[in-house]
C-alpha cells in the first residue's frame, strides 16, 4: 500500500479554480454509481473528488479527461457538489502544466487562431448563411440572432441541420439574422477542457460583437451554446436572452404558426442531450414538438430525461479518440433499436455527429436514421 500525505495547497488551488463546494462531499459515491462510464470502464468520480479534497496526486492518467461533463452525477449529488466545475478546475490546473492530451491541443490551437475547434478557416465561418437566404443581423429587422454553432460551417452533416432551421424559420415567419466570420466559437467545450483564458477571450469577443450589433435575443441550435450563453456569459458581462430551436418550435407550434401537415411515418425515440436536459432542464419542449409531427410514433428509451445516457461528445470528448466499443453513442444506438425506433432524434449537433459515426461503425445504416428534431419538423412541412 502506498503512503500518502495530504497536500492542502493543491486542494485550495482546486477550490479556487471553481470547486468551492469540494469539501462538502461525503463520499457516498452516488457519482460513481451514476456515471455513464459504468457500462464501459467505470470512472471513479468519488475517488477523484476525495483526492482533490486532500490535494493528492492521481490525475496523471487519462481518468480526468474521460469525464464528458454529462452532469448526471451533479444533479444526483446529495451534497450538491459542483462536480463538473471540479473536473474543470482540475483540468485547468493540469492545463497550466501543459499536460493536455494531444488531440485537445489541436482543438484549442485552432480555436485560438481560427475561432473554431475544427481546424477550419475563419473566413469560411457562416458562409452557408447567405446560401440559405440569411442576411446579416440587423436589430431593426431581425427578432433573433441565429448563433448556429461552429459545426455547420465545417461539417457537412451539420450543414443539413441549418438547412432545416432555415426552412422552419421561414415557414414560421420568424426573422433571424446571422453574424459573419468575426463571430467565434461559443467556448463552452473550451472551458470544460480547462482553458479558462481562451474561453474568456471567446466570450469577450462574442460579447462585444453582440453589443455592437445590439443583439438581445439569440437563437441557438446547440445546447452547448445555449448553456454557456445562458449560464456563463452573464458572469462575464454579456446577458442575452437565449432560445433553443426546440423551445422556439414548441411555442411556434402551440401558437399555430407551424403547419405540420406532411406525415413523417417513423418510430421515433428521443435522446436528451446532456446540455439541454440535465444542464438546463429542457425536457418537454422537444417531446412536445415530436408528438405534434403527424405520423410520428413516439417511444421513450429506457434511459430518458434526467436519466438519459450521454452521447460521449461533451467536455472536450468530441476531439478525443474513444476506443471502439467504449463510445457511449455505440451503446445508445442498440438501446434505440431495442425500443423499436427507426429514427433516433435529438437536438444537438454534437450528439448527431456522434450517433452518425456509431451508426456507420455498427453497420446500422439501414436500421436507423439520426435526425435533429428540427429536421423532422422540416420534413413535416408541406
Amino acid at each position: 500500500m502506498e503512503v500518502a500525505t495530504p497536500f492542502l495547497e493543491v486542494a485550495e488551488a482546486i477550490e479556487q479554480g471553481g470547486a468551492e463546494d469540494l469539501n462538502v462531499c461525503y463520499q457516498c459515491a452516488t457519482c460513481t454509481g451514476s456515471c455513464p462510464w459504468g457500462f464501459v470502464e467505470p470512472l471513479n468520480v468519488r475517488r477523484l473528488i476525495h483526492l482533490a479534497q486532500l490535494g493528492l496526486e492521481g490525475y496523471e492518467g487519462e481518468d480526468i479527461w474521460r469525464c464528458t461533463t454529462c452532469n448526471t452525477c451533479k444533479i444526483r449529488c446529495p451534497r450538491g457538489v459542483g462536480i463538473v466545475d471540479l473536473i474543470r478546475s482540475i483540468r485547468m490546473m493540469i492545463g497550466e502544466t501543459g499536460l493536455i492530451p494531444q488531440s485537445l491541443r489541436a482543438a484549442l490551437g485552432s480555436t485560438k487562431s481560427e475561432g473554431n475547434p475544427w481546424s477550419g478557416e475563419r473566413k469560411l465561418r457562416n458562409k452557408w448563411a447567405a446560401d440559405l437566404g440569411f442576411t446579416p443581423f440587423d436589430k431593426n429587422e431581425h427578432e433573433y440572432l441565429l448563433f448556429a454553432c461552429c459545426m455547420p460551417s465545417y461539417d457537412s452533416r451539420s450543414r443539413k441541420l441549418v438547412e432545416a432551421v432555415a426552412k422552419v424559420l421561414s415557414a414560421a415567419g420568424i426573422r433571424a439574422g446571422v453574424l459573419g466570420s468575426e463571430e467565434s466559437c461559443c467556448g463552452e467545450s473550451i472551458r470544460k477542457i480547462g482553458d479558462e483564458g481562451l474561453f474568456g477571450n471567446l466570450a469577450e469577443g462574442n460579447g462585444k460583437l453582440f453589443a455592437e450589433h445590439g443583439v438581445e435575443r439569440v437563437l441557438v441550435i446547440s445546447p452547448h451554446c445555449y448553456h454557456t450563453f445562458k449560464n456563463e456569459y452573464p458572469e462575464l458581462g454579456t446577458s442575452v436572452q437565449v432560445t433553443h430551436m426546440t423551445e422556439l418550435m414548441a411555442s411556434a407550434i402551440a401558437a399555430g404558426k407551424l403547419d405540420l401537415k406532411k406525415p413523417v411515418d417513423a418510430a421515433v425515440t428521443y435522446h436528451d442531450p446532456c446540455y439541454l436536459g440535465r444542464h438546463n432542464e429542457i425536457y418537454d419542449a422537444p417531446r412536445e414538438v415530436l408528438r405534434s409531427i403527424p405520423g410520428v410514433k413516439f417511444t421513450e428509451m429506457i434511459r430518458n430525461r434526467d436519466c438519459s445516457l450521454c452521447c460521449g461528445g461533451g467536455g472536450g470528448r468530441m476531439w478525443m479518440e474513444t476506443k471502439f466499443g467504449e463510445r457511449f453513442s455505440d451503446l445508445r444506438i442498440p438501446e434505440a433499436l431495442g425500443v423499436g425506433a427507426d429514427v433516433l432524434a435529438t437536438a444537438c449537433p454534437y450528439c448527431i455527429n456522434m450517433f452518425e459515426d456509431s451508426r456507420l461503425n455498427l453497420n446500422k445504416e439501414d436500421e436507423i436514421r439520426i435526425k435533429d428534431v428540427t429536421e423532422l419538423v422540416a420534413e413535416a412541412l408541406a
Partner: protein
C-alpha cells in the same frame, strides 16, 4: 425628577469581553445622560451578578436598568425577575444585545466595541422613556387539547388524563394510533408494535378524562395561553356511533372496495370501514368517495344489514367548540414520495417498496399476513435495503431522518428471521446507531450475516432493462423478475452491481404537506426543514413561541419511538405545569387606546388579526379588548392620530431608541 439608570455590561466570560472592550463600553455609558452608575461584570446572569443588580437598585434607588449582555430572548425574563425582587417594575429593564448581535458576529474589536456602545446608548435612551407596567393575571382553563393521535399524542393524553386533567384529543383519521400502528416490530428490542401500542390506544378510548374526537379536524384557534378557544370539525361518518355496536357486519357486506390507506395500497378495504381491526374508536365510517350510494344514489346495503340502525346517510359535519388551557400539537410526519427519484425505480418496478409498504408486508396483520413475498408470491432470495433515499440530500432534504439506519437493520433481521437463506444487502453511507442498544443491534445484524456495502445506491434497473442496456460483459446474469442495484462500494473502490428480488427504500421523513396550514392555525414557526420550530433547540424542546402551545413527536422533526414518547411526556408535563398554576401572568405590553385622542376614524378596526378592537358606536370610539390583544402593535402603527399606544413599544420609546443607537 430625573431618572436614575444603572448600566451593566456583561463579559459573558470571553463571549463578549473577548471581542468587545467592556470597560470602554461601561466608561462610555457613564457619560450618557441619566446614567447614575455603569459597571462591567463577568457573568450578569449568575447569582452574584443578579445580587449586585438587586443591591444597586435598592441602594442607589435606580429607576431603570440596562443590561448589555446576551439576547433579550435569552435572559430578559431573568433580569426582569431580579428587578422585581429588588422592588423595581420589571418593565423598567432594557436589554442591549451585545452578544448574539455584536460580539459573536463582529470580528474587529474596535468595530464591535463601537457597535456595543451604540446599542447601549439606544437601550439607555429607551430605559429613560420606559414606564412601569402591570402584568395581567388570567385564569387557566384546567384542560388540554391534543391535536394528533399518534404515539406522541397518546402518551401526552394519558399522562395528562392520569393527572386528572380534562383532555380533548382530536384525530383526523377514523382511528388513533398513527404510524406506529402500522409497524410490526420495533427496533432494537423487537417488541411487537401492536402489543405495546394497542393497550395505550384502548386506554385513550376508555379514559374518563379523555374525550376522543376521531375523524375530526381543528378548524380555527383563537384566544391565548390558558384560554384557547378551538373550533373542531367533526367530519360526518354517516354512522351514528352512539347506536353502532361495532359488529362489523356492514363492512363484510359492503360490495365496494378501494385501496387501503393503512396497508399502503397493498390490500383493499370497503367503502364503509375501520382502518384496522384494533382501531380506536372501533366504529366504522363511510368513505363518500368510494360509497356507491353517494356516488350513484344506489346501494344502501350497509343500512339494510345494520341491526341497530346506525347508518345515517343524512349526517352532516358538525362544529364543536372547546375551551382549553393548553394545546399540544402532535400531528406527526409523512414519508417522502419516492417517485421523486426516478433512478431508483419506485412506482415503476413492482418490487421496489417504500419503508411503510414493507412494514405492512411484514406485518402479521398485514396484506400477506406477515409473509415476505413478492407481488407474484415468490419468497425473495435476496433483498437490498437502500439508505438515505431523500435524506441527507440537498435535492430533497438536507437533514438525516434519524431512524432509517435502525429500521433498515430491523428489516434485515426480520427478513433473515423469516427467510434465513435470503441474502440481505444494506447500501449505506454512514451507519448511525446512536441510541441505547442501537450499536449492539448493528453488531447483532452483522453477526446474522447481513452484507453491508458502503456506498449510496445510484441506480436501480429491472432485469429486462439491465439486459437491454448493460453492454459490458461482467458475467452477471439476471432474469426478468430480478432487479439490479448499482453503487460504488467505496471501501473497495469498485463499482458493484447486485441482483436482488426485492428492494426496500428508506424515504425521508418529511413535514406533512399541511404543516404550513397547521402552523398558521396554531401560530407555530417552522424551520427551514419545514418541521415545527421549538422555542429553544436545547432548553425548550417542546415549547413554542406561542405560549401555551407545545409540540411533540414527528411534527417537530424526525425521531424514533423512544424520543417521540419522551417528547409526548415532556409536552404533557409542560402543559400540566401550566394548568396546575390555575392562574398565570401574561405580558403587559398590550395596546392601549386613549379615549381622549381617538376620533373614531375606524382605521384600526380590520387591522387587528385577533379582532381585539371593537367599535363603540355610541361613544364613536374604538375599544380594545385587552384579553385578546397579543401586543403585535400593528394597530398602533396604523392609527393615523397616534391615539393607540403600543405599550413598551410606544412611538416615543422607539424614537428614543433610534436617537440612542444613532447617537454615535
Amino acid at each position: 425628577m430625573p431618572k436614575k439608570i444603572g448600566v451593566y455590561i456583561c463579559h459573558c466570560g470571553s463571549n463578549i469581553a473577548g471581542t468587545v472592550d467592556v470597560e470602554a463600553v461601561a466608561e462610555f455609558a457613564k457619560g450618557l445622560g441619566g446614567v447614575t452608575l455603569a459597571k462591567d461584570y463577568k457573568f450578569m446572569c449568575s447569582d452574584p451578578g443578579q445580587d449586585m443588580l438587586k443591591e444597586d437598585i435598592r441602594s442607589s434607588g435606580l429607576d431603570g436598568v440596562v443590561i448589555a449582555a446576551c439576547s433579550p430572548l435569552m435572559h430578559e425574563l431573568t433580569f426582569r425577575k431580579a428587578a422585581l425582587e429588588a422592588g423595581l417594575n420589571p418593565f423598567l429593564v432594557q436589554i442591549a444585545n451585545i452578544r448574539e448581535q455584536c460580539s459573536w458576529v463582529t470580528e474587529d474589536r474596535a468595530l464591535a466595541t463601537q457597535k456595543a456602545k451604540a446599542l447601549v446608548a439606544g437601550a439607555v435612551a429607551r430605559a429613560l422613556s420606559h414606564e412601569p407596567l402591570e402584568m395581567r393575571r388570567v385564569e387557566v382553563q384546567p384542560s388540554a387539547l391534543i391535536v394528533g393521535g399518534g404515539i406522541a399524542g397518546i402518551q401526552a393524553a394519558l399522562d395528562l388524563a392520569d393527572a386528572g386533567v380534562q383532555v380533548y384529543m382530536v384525530e383526523r383519521e377514523p382511528t388513533i394510533g398513527g404510524h406506529m400502528a402500522m409497524f410490526d416490530k420495533t427496533f432494537p428490542t423487537l417488541d411487537c408494535s401492536a402489543c405495546i401500542l394497542t393497550p395505550k390506544m384502548t386506554a385513550v378510548g376508555s379514559h374518563p378524562n379523555i374525550q376522543l374526537m376521531a375523524y375530526s379536524e381543528v378548524e380555527e384557534v383563537s384566544g391565548y395561553i390558558g384560554n384557547f378557544r378551538v373550533k373542531v370539525r367533526r367530519k360526518a361518518a354517516y354512522v351514528d356511533h352512539d347506536k353502532c355496536t361495532g359488529c362489523g357486519l356492514c363492512m363484510e357486506k359492503c360490495p365496494y372496495k378501494v385501496d387501503s390507506e393503512f396497508d399502503q395500497g397493498l390490500s383493499k378495504r370497503r367503502a364503509i370501514y375501520v382502518p384496522f381491526p384494533q382501531a380506536v374508536p372501533n366504529k366504522p365510517v363511510i368513505d363518500r368517495d368510494a360509497c356507491a350510494y353517494f356516488k350513484k344514489g344506489k346501494c344502501r346495503v350497509c343500512e339494510k344489514v345494520c341491526e341497530p340502525g346506525a347508518i345515517d346517510f343524512e349526517q352532516q359535519d358538525s362544529i364543536e367548540e372547546i375551551e382549553t388551557g393548553a394545546i399540544i400539537v402532535s400531528t406527526g410526519f409523512q414519508a417522502m414520495d419516492m417517485t421523486a427519484m426516478p433512478q431508483l425505480g419506485y412506482g415503476k418496478h413492482a418490487e421496489v417498496y417504500s419503508a411503510l409498504e414493507f412494514e405492512r408486508l411484514n406485518n402479521a396483520a398485514g396484506p400477506t399476513l406477515g409473509k415476505i413475498v413478492t407481488k407474484d408470491g415468490r419468497e425473495p432470495t435476496s433483498v437490498a435495503i437502500l439508505h438515505c433515499t431523500g435524506s441527507r440530500d440537498e435535492n430533497y432534504h438536507r437533514y438525516c431522518s434519524r431512524v432509517c439506519c435502525m429500521y433498515a437493520l430491523k428489516y434485515a433481521h426480520l427478513i433473515k428471521e423469516k427467510i434465513p437463506e435470503a441474502a440481505v444487502y444494506q447500501f449505506y453511507i454512514d451507519m448511525r446507531c446512536f441510541g441505547k442498544g442501537y450499536e449492539e443491534f448493528y453488531q447483532r445484524l452483522q453477526e446474522e450475516g447481513v452484507r453491508f456495502i458502503r456506498g449510496k445506491a445510484a441506480q436501480v434497473w429491472s432485469g429486462k432493462e439491465y439486459r437491454a442496456i448493460a453492454t459490458d460483459d461482467t458475467g452477471l446474469e439476471v432474469d426478468d423478475a430480478q432487479l439490479v442495484v448499482q453503487a460504488e462500494d467505496t471501501l473497495l473502490g469498485k463499482l458493484v452491481r447486485v441482483p436482488v428480488d426485492m428492494i426496500v427504500l428508506t424515504p425521508a421523513f418529511e413535514a406533512r404537506d399541511d404543516a404550513e396550514q397547521v402552523g398558521k392555525a396554531f401560530l407555530l414557526n417552522r424551520g427551514a426543514d419545514g418541521f415545527f420550530l421549538e422555542q429553544h433547540p436545547k432548553l425548550a424542546p417542546v415549547s413554542t413561541t406561542n405560549d401555551g402551545v407545545f409540540i411533540a413527536g414527528g411534527c417537530q422533526g424526525p425521531k424514533d419511538i423512544p424520543d417521540t414518547v419522551a417528547q409526548g411526556s415532556a409536552a404533557a408535563s409542560k402543559a400540566l405545569s401550566l394548568i396546575t398554576r390555575r392562574e398565570i401572568e401574561i405580558e403587559a405590553n398590550t395596546a392601549y387606546i386613549d379615549e381622549e385622542l381617538c376620533s373614531g376614524c375606524k382605521n384600526c378596526l380590520d387591522i387587528c388579526p385577533y379582532n381585539a378592537i371593537d367599535f363603540d358606536d355610541e361613544k364613536n370610539r374604538a375599544v380594545l379588548n385587552e384579553a385578546l390583544c397579543k401586543a403585535c402593535g400593528t394597530c398602533a402603527a396604523t392609527c393615523p392620530s397616534g391615539a393607540i399606544r403600543a405599550r413598551h413599544f410606544a412611538d416615543d420609546q422607539i424614537f428614543a431608541e433610534i436617537e440612542g443607537v444613532m447617537s454615535i
